[in-house]
Amino acid sequence: MDAGPVLWVLLQSLELESVRRGRAKPMSGVMKRMGMIFRAKANKALDRAEDPRETLDYSYQKQLELLQKVRRGVADVATSRKRLELQLNQLQSQSSKLEDQGRKALALGREDLAREALSRRAALQQQVTDLETQHTTLQGEEEKLTLAAQRLQAKVDAFRTKKETIKATYTAAQAQTRIGEAFSGISEEMGDVGLAIQRAEDKTQQLQARAGAIDELLASGALDDPTGMAKDDIQAELERLSGGTDVELELQRMKAELAGGTSAQQQAIEGGTDKAQPQQPQDTPRFDKQ
């Protein structure tokens, strides 16, 4: 935090000087500089302690805290992932409902209604695709953090053992080197894990904001009806249409029954009523107008 810009300036000046002298650049690569920056950070923390052995306990405390944080991170990411899965299910069932509506509308000869249902479905599918991408991202984060937690746990355990040995066996002066070795290794790991946690938090926060928006949409029923018209107007229209069809079918069935009964009766009825009646089947619009 504090030494950052200073270190950078130092690195720059080193490089400039070396260039001026025509020597090989000492810090000419990314991984070399990063290695140095991490080491500088560890050394600085170590230098602050009066008795380096105090650093051991303090660092161990920090390690346990970080371990807790990583585990919480894993749990948070898992929660977000599950929420996404729930939303995906809801969106997908909504999507197949629209597909069914489209099919039904087409069967009833209402291509306009089918088109509307399918275009709503296309909009939903876009959401589904987005969520699926996010889901993959979250799964990746969860996996990475889980592995990070495992690595950190192994290192923290090793550090605890080493810490006890150092404290029991060495004087402050002797301990210095030993501590330095153990400390820079664990400090580097903590820096790495700390960054991983930050990145995961950033990612889940972004995703949570979007997930919240989708939850609101699902709750408001707006996804049922992206056009802002009456709630699920397609369903209402379909029910109206198929309701009419059922009545028609029933009528036809009854007529057929009557016709099949006795031909005399049939003729009597037909003679006395409408001659056009036998051609009537399937002609829905005519029925609607009557």
Binding site: D2, R33, L195, A196
Partner: protein, 92 residues
């Protein structure tokens, strides 16, 4: 020589590979400084692939510090630039 790949862990590499890695590493830094995103991504992936290929993973409970540290595979150019310009980004 020990190399850390951030977010992945550490590997041990024979010192003989250093020259080869250094070349890519130098190119990578130039690309970071020039803000050349696509080239940066390509070089970073090449460098990571080399390190993974040549290196032997260190056990999880190893406490050895790394000499070289590589950004994680999905790190952006901006993130790497920030890491290099301000170590305040590294927590702990």
């Amino acid at each position: 020589m020990i190399v850390r790949i951030m977010g992945e862990g550490q590997v041990r590499l024979a010192d003989g590979h250093l020259t080869e890695l250094n070349k890519l590493d130098d190119v990578l830094l130039t690309e970071v400084q020039n803000g050349d995103g696509p080239a940066f991504r390509q070089t970073l992936q090449a460098l990571l692939a080399k390190v993974r290929e040549l290196g032997e993973p260190l056990p999880d409970d190893s406490l050895e510090p790394s000499e070289l540290i590589l950004p994680s595979p999905d790190a952006t150019l901006e993130e790497v630039r920030d890491l290099l310009s301000d170590d305040g980004l590294i927590p702990g």
